[in-house]
Symmetry: C3
Subunit: 404 residues, 3 copies
């Protein structure tokens, strides 16, 4: 289990040792549960549309620049073209053309083959665009896997607000907010867990104590009477209502996913540091609901610490795993410095492009092989390596979400 600054990697087809060989072989065959992902685009994409989904920016790249010139874009060019019958390292325009030729169904089937067997789909992002972004059934068909739902708390709250709110009536109806949210959550019987995007809305540095019913009513009155945002519609940013949603979710006993770390430019990164959750984690350490820290990069070491010391805390390095390309092994290694193997999960956080699904799987398997190889070299038995790899790839998710 030595550790040294290294030498340029050999290509994957030339493993340098029997230990690496074994680790690669093990991870290539592990079952995966993707415990957090999003809808796939169901449209034939132009090059512009494709590039817009490659990264996390909502803006166009500067003139003369390509959104494919990123670690992720280069990984797409490296690994995906052969799956569409093109040579590796093909240019993006050739790739997009071939993509269109094959059609969405075929592309998705090819890129999702060999991926996860189970997907937990966050149905709360762009839920109202089924024409553009497919439905759960489609993901199941394309992937051949089973798909279960994770319900987004803020989206549920916004649907409640849309029913209750509006000029004049909002304040009067605010006393019904908590019950209405509770009803809405009750209708999510099929959801295996909950998701909060507090990091995007008010940041994670809020007062996490459980708000009293009076405080919830008051906050609901503030929000409902303010009405929807002209551009964005009903958008929950009120920290009291976000905390209330989270505590309501924790009360159900089902795992609660919390977005931490990077995301699109809608997030303020500094406010997405998972260590800001400290008061919440202290308050829920003897509770019955697991808290799943999603993504975490570049605060994944911090998340690993939290996953070690708090019994209810789990983590993943999803989103980073596909997006940092060849660096995914380095990121996973940092997260596993302190995160126990029984607390780490796999997720893709893929959205829109099947390429993100594909590269998440590919990068995860490679990153995990890198984590296992020194253990193989140190003499751990194959069964033990399989056990560890299975924990982080699927078993932890199955145990925590109750997936059989």
């Amino acid at each position: 289990m030595s550790e040294h600054p290294g030498v340029v990697p050999s290509v994957a087809s030339q493993p340098v040792s029997a230990a690496e060989d074994l680790a690669v072989h093990i991870t290539a065959n592990l079952d995966l549960v993707d415990h957090h992902c999003h809808y796939l685009s169901r449209q034939v994409l132009s090059q512009g549309g494709f590039e817009a989904l490659l990264g996390e920016s909502h803006f166009r790249t500067p003139p003369g620049c390509s959104a494919a010139d990123t670690g992720f874009g280069l990984a797409v060019r490296t690994f995906c073209p052969p799956l569409l019958d093109l040579p590796a390292c093909a240019g993006i325009s050739d790739y997009v053309e071939r993509r269109a030729q094959l059609g969405v169904d075929e592309v998705h089937r090819r890129l999702l083959a060999g991926g996860a067997s189970t997907y937990l789909l966050d149905t709360g992002y762009l839920p109202d665009r089924p024409q553009r972004f497919g439905r759960a059934e489609e993901l199941a068909a394309w992937s051949g896997g089973s798909v279960a739902e994770v319900a987004r708390l803020e989206t549920l709250a916004e649907q409640v607000a849309a029913r209750l709110g509006g000029i004049g009536g909002g304040v009067a109806r605010s006393s019904g907010y908590a019950d209405a949210l509770s009803d809405a959550m009750g209708q999510c019987g099929g959801a295996l867990g909950w998701k909060s995007v507090a990091a995007y809305r008010c940041g994670l540095g809020i007062d996490w104590s459980r708000p009293s019913p009076g405080r919830v009513r008051e906050a609901a009155a503030e929000w409902l009477s303010a009405g929807p945002d002209i551009q964005r519609g009903w958008r929950l940013e009120h920290p009291v209502l976000i905390a209330h949603g989270l505590w309501s979710a924790l009360d159900t006993g089902r795992p609660v996913q919390i977005h931490t770390g990077f995301g699109d430019n809608d997030i303020r990164l500094k406010e997405a540091d998972p260590t800001l959750l400290d008061p919440l984690l202290r308050a829920t350490a003897d509770g019955r609901s697991a808290i799943m820290l999603l993504h975490c990069w570049p605060y994944h070491r911090q998340a690993g610490y939290l996953a070690q010391v708090w019994p209810q805390v789990y983590m993943d390095v999803g989103l980073a795993v596909p997006h940092v390309g060849s660096r995914s092994a380095a990121v996973l290694a940092q997260a596993l410095e302190l995160a126990p193997w029984h607390k780490m999960l796999y997720s893709s956080d893929a959205f829109g492009l099947a390429e993100i699904y594909h590269l998440a799987v590919h990068s995860w398997r490679r990153a995990l092989a890198t984590a296992l190889a020194p253990l193989a070299a140190a003499g751990f038995h194959r069964d033990e390596l399989v056990r560890l790899g299975s924990l982080v790839s699927s078993e932890n998710a199955r145990r925590v979400y109750g997936i059989s």
Copy 2:
């Protein structure tokens, strides 16, 4: 001194180059001063008791999970069983059984052999449990090294409070607090340095200016009249008194250790970032006491910067060195990006288990070999490598603490 993303490591017995060979050989023979460690458990441990000491959590692992499934637990299984006549990679239950068979003294002697020659023992953590946790003399006997004391400031203050405080009398006696603390510190003549756990009590982001005598009296009155916590007894969390303790320590001219970075779940990680000490470091830059930043992970790069720019600042990556297992070389390398070699020290921060002592030594030697190997490859003479390795392993500690 090239630097490349690397290839899976060969096992230690197959060094890839003469440079690495040389570096490993040098570090295997370096004298070590462990400038910060804690008591060893002197009990025969059950598997539960053993696993509870493996990590930094105060909580049990979730059902079906093992606390040994961490980077550190896997390192224990890799390296320690052969020292107890078991095969490498033995399971934890076999290991714990063998441990009990051999008995505490024999296990400690075997695991501490080849370790540090000098230990600076923080005597302030669980000072009242000598039956469970051994005394300094025992550490000396088990290790064959010499043991000196580091006195914990908050523990001294709490002993003072226990004498002065209590309902009714506290406020009246608060005027004697500063003198009583001064007396208590005066009785620590044998202590080579001081330790503060401010990070655990009020965080490092407090007002670090030296409190006036009046402000100290006032704060002492607040604390003493509040009385001891029912569960935790006298516990110093008052930022004014913590700052006062630290300045009192700085006045002695002896090095002052400050816990920074991760620790058990009692810490709020965000409040343990050493850059929060900025005002204190500015105010003490021309002072005569060294400030030792302990542990620092995951803020060890930041600590390296502070160690470079402030003349009185030193650092270690203790606690991380054993706990991150095979990643210790990566952590040390990041710390040495900016930290001068004359400002880095070795510590284990070991507590309870002799395995932590052992792996701290083992991981440090490997990590240091990794840092020296590129210098060897670049052509630095063996004597120069020994000089650099000796600085960080023992000489800096000897110079700063005045150990002959």
Copy 3:
């Protein structure tokens, strides 16, 4: 594009694969634009003077310690002596002696050979010491490159204050501050961009909204009537005037460089985290001026995220590239996890020593080769590798600053 914890590096003269060979060859020949550097010392330096410029501290090293015992100092000893006809790994005293023997002009010519073809010189640091620190023409002569100016906003403001300010008259003249600054900026017609050291003065966590004319007048009155600092002279630390300077610079359409991350001990590192700029970046996302995040370490991953999601944001890992020695590849790799290749630039941030210029170039080429090698191994065509390497080494700078 595999990624593994690695093995000790071979020396540069023994590349381990054809892919690395190709990457090293490509980067050795890339044109470089150094988009941020400082004056070179034009004095013959004593060993003390030389060591004082090796690091970022303003203080002397502790007795018995050498400022050359750092990652950077060891890199200087590894790579620079042969350029002055000494053996590699020579001691610092021999090196400084040889340096003096050759004379400043010869040393500078040798160390700057093979470096950047274009330098953007921040003329605002120590602008009044031309005897000690050379002028732009000298840098051009020593390097054989062309030199253009970057004007430092705070220095311009301080020159304005020196004209307008002073006891009694300051308040009265404060109404002319904005116009005078505007005039001073108008006289910087040759400057290709602007530089702000807000991080050193008030930190990056200020109110970044554009101050109203009335608020600027008020702030100018505060500053001008306070007068110059006795030791430091006129020193702009007023957050309103710093924000005003930055917005004035953004209005010109020319790129605005912002120091982020580490620097000398004058900076408070925590206040130099580029994510603190979030409100400014949101407010300028549709603007016409590029914002260049300089240095960024240890927040370079965060900067990479900002460079990905905001269209106007660029970054470099200057200062770190030379100062972290053999770790520059690791730092660049982390920055490129999210930073697009069309958003990364080269800079040295060199100041004082030609060795910093030299090692910045050397470390950059090695770091970039390390980033390109896996792409070469993955099958990307040489032309594509050259294109990517050229973007980050020169083309991005040429495009953004309008350098032909």
